[in-house]
């Protein structure tokens, strides 16, 4: 159980002539928070729907614990669809109990779990109310409870943070972190990259149905071009020209921002800067996830480059 991984292996899907996914491959390990990012239409929702079995893949495989995923395994997934959905006229408690039962829980257990999650997410007071009578924020909490009520072994959440107020974002983050700590693989998609960067162990960046970058956030940030920020007030313009592999990005009021090609020597930059006078600041800047994301999604695709 502890080593169980959710593997998405070379999954492809077409809608008519449109390629939605092409050899989508990644894995989510037990106890890991995996952030799934990409532009709208990149294929995140399609991937999640295929994992849940709501859609069928044209080719490729989804595996859990090294076995192809089955309907019974899928019942142990907690799912939050991008398009939120609950029966508007059903009471919160009945709805959660019903969904837990559909996931295979016996009725009494389902009811107890519904009550427990309602308490945990602060909606126990609305247990007997129809969902449509709840505020939007509370409906989101019910939706989260619906993903968690059957004690899932895997969590797949499509845009769980969208539309949440800051307090709810904290509640959601806390719940996801706690679930990961219990050894559950958690994969969620989001456009809030700072949140993904803060929360996730690993991220995958999708573009046009393909995984273009996947790994721990730190590693990914290291793979991009490194930048140096140097504050040397006495340095004349063009002091860094001629240093091998170094390009000046910006020079303003004594602060020079340089980008280093792979293998360029930052110590040579420091020596050159010291040669101009005092150096008050010398900092290596790694790209943020947002910058990485911009680079990745704005780079031309293989096909575009070929044409």
């Amino acid at each position: 159980m502890v080593d169980a991984r959710l593997e998405i292996d070379a999954v492809s899907k077409r809608y008519g002539d449109v390629v939605a996914l092409q050899d989508m491959t990644f894995d989510v390990r037990a106890g890991e928070l995996f952030g799934f990012v990409g532009s709208n239409g990149a294929g995140k929702t399609t991937t999640m729907r295929i994992v849940l079995g709501v859609l069928a893949a044209d080719s490729g495989q989804v595996r859990w614990d090294s076995e192809p995923i089955t309907a019974d395994t899928r019942r142990r997934i907690g799912y939050m669809p991008e398009e939120r959905g609950l029966y508007p006229k059903m009471k919160v408690g009945e709805q959660l109990t019903y969904l837990a039962e559909l996931h295979g829980m016996p009725r009494a257990v389902a009811r107890a779990a519904a009550l427990q999650w309602a308490e945990q997410l602060g909606i126990a007071g609305r247990f007997g109310d129809e969902v449509q009578k709840l505020s939007l924020g509370n409906q989101q909490r019910v939706q989260l409870a619906a993903a968690l009520v059957h004690d899932p072994r895997i969590l797949v959440l499509d845009e769980p943070f969208s539309g949440l107020d800051p307090v709810a974002v904290d509640v959601m983050s806390e719940v996801l972190r706690r679930k990961a700590e219990q050894g559950i693989p958690v994969v969620f998609s989001s456009h809030q990259l700072d949140l993904v960067e803060r929360l996730c162990d690993r991220v995958g960046i999708v573009r046009s149905g393909q995984m273009v970058a996947c790994g721990p956030v730190d590693e990914l940030r290291d793979t991009g071009t490194a930048r140096l920020s140097v504050l040397a007030p006495d340095a004349p313009a063009g002091w860094a020209d001629g240093l091998p592999g170094v390009t000046v990005v910006e020079a303003r009021r004594g602060r020079t921002t340089l980008s280093l090609a792979t293998g360029a020597d930052d110590q040579a930059v420091l020596a050159a800067a010291l040669a101009t006078g005092p150096v008050h600041e010398f900092a290596r800047q790694r790209p943020s996830l947002t910058e990485l994301f911009r680079n990745v999604v704005s780079a031309p695709t293989a096909e575009e480059a070929a044409s």
């Binding site: 899928r74 019942r75 142990r76 398009e83 508007p88 019903y98 559909l102 619906a146």
Partner: protein, 405 residues
């Protein structure tokens, strides 16, 4: 965790999923105000109809004719004329003064005053058309009697001979003495089937659209297959409709038998009720799967009409044809043929069965054909439903839903 005792692998059989979904439909619908109100209205309608029938039956044109001491000898002749003209008449002897008051009060319909040879009719305003006939015949009989008497004959003998005169009749077809009641029974059965199909069939479409428009369908399809969701919904609502039909049948048959409103053997009524329920179940299966598939094509309740109406027409047209064709000509060729055609059978066959004109082989053939159609429709509708139910947004075209893999 409070659910620590739960460690099952989440096993849920296919039937288990269908049962859960059907149970939710049943639980939410049986408690719904709309169900309670529509059932109550129809029950009131049935009770009202039976009470009315009973009331009309018990007060069928009984008139009271008052006779004074001078005219009391006419009693037998008045009664005979009443019988000859189909009027149920009682006679009562009163004093002329009291009789006139009673006519004014409406306690007597008619008072005969004057003498037995030349009576005068006293009425409040005018004679009812039935009594006009009666007294017309009465006057003719009196005149005829007087003539016979003058010719030296015996008026009593002549009257008797005339009363028993009758021509023998040769019947080419036997007449069912319950013909009218059977027609009423058949029409009521089909009206109930029709209403139940309309109410509950549209509930299936609305339920499918509700799941699609609220987008809860994606959450459900992460746990069950599309066919389970559709089957559970159709079964659940079918049971709701069945509960309703049984309530109608029990109220209708029970009250009908208790009040004697039908004046027809209990076996006939019970048979009609049982066949109505059988054909309701078959008809529901037929139309509900079509309506479920139709509902899956659209994402908003506002778009429901466009897809639901064509299916509804498939209920309305056979019902209208049945009502206009069968009671007028129960054994006509058109009715016989239509009752065998699957989409017409649920509306026309129960009526023909009630009328006692459906041959056993006809019933068997219509059952087999209808069930075969249900099987084919389940496969087709299941395909449309599966392909369309996750496509939100614009209305899905039927051909696309049928074609898509």
């Amino acid at each position: 965790m409070s659910n620590a005792q739960y460690d099952g692998p989440g096993a849920l059989s296919a039937a288990g999923g269908v049962r859960l979904i059907a149970r939710r439909e049943l639980a939410t619908r049986l408690r719904a105000k709309s169900f309670l109100i529509s059932t109550a209205i129809i029950v009131v309608f049935i009770i009202g109809y039976l009470v009315l029938m009973n009331f009309i039956g018990s007060t069928s044109s009984s008139s009271t004719v008052g006779l004074t001491a001078q005219t009391s000898s006419l009693s037998t002749a008045v009664l005979a004329s009443g019988k000859a003209t189909g009027q149920d008449i009682e006679t009562r002897t009163v004093s002329e003064k009291a009789g006139r008051e009673q006519v004014a009060d409406g306690k007597l319909d008619v008072l005969l005053v004057g003498t037995a040879d030349a009576p005068t009719i006293v009425v409040k305003k005018q004679l009812s058309s039935g009594l006009t006939n009666t007294f017309h015949v009465f006057a003719q009989q009196q005149a005829l009697g007087a003539q016979i008497d003058r010719l030296g004959g015996d008026p009593a003998k002549v009257q008797q001979a005339m009363a028993t005169a009758q021509l023998p009749v040769q019947r080419l077809q036997s007449v069912d003495r319950y013909q009218v009641q059977r027609i009423v029974l058949g029409v009521i059965a089909v009206v109930l089937i029709y209403m139940s199909l309309m109410i509950n069939g549209q509930a299936v479409a609305a339920g499918v659209i509700e799941e699609k428009s609220s987008r809860v369908v994606e959450l459900l399809l992460a746990t069950v297959r599309p066919w389970q969701l559709m089957a559970g919904k159709v079964l659940g609502i079918a049971v709701v409709g069945l509960v309703q039909m049984v309530i109608f049948a029990v109220v209708g048959v029970g009250l009908g038998l208790a009040t004697g409103a039908f004046a027809i053997p209990a076996g006939l009524i019970t048979g009609a009720a049982v066949w109505a329920i059988v054909w309701y179940v078959i008809g529901f299966a037929m139309y509900a799967v079509m309506l479920a598939a139709a509902g899956a094509l659209v994402s908003r309740q506002e778009d429901a009409n466009a897809v639901v109406t064509p299916v509804i027409m498939l209920i309305v047209v056979p019902a209208v044809i049945g009502w206009s064709l069968i009671p007028a000509n129960p054994d006509g060729m058109a009715g016989r043929v239509l009752s065998l055609i699957p989409l017409f059978s649920p509306m026309i066959m129960p009526m023909r069965i009630s009328l006692g004109v459906a041959a056993p082989w006809e019933i068997a053939v219509s059952l087999v054909l209808s069930v075969a159609l249900v099987v084919a429709l389940v496969a087709l509708a299941g395909r449309v439903y599966r392909n369309a139910v996750l496509r939100t947004g614009a209305r899905v075209r039927l051909v696309d839903a049928l074609r898509a893999a």
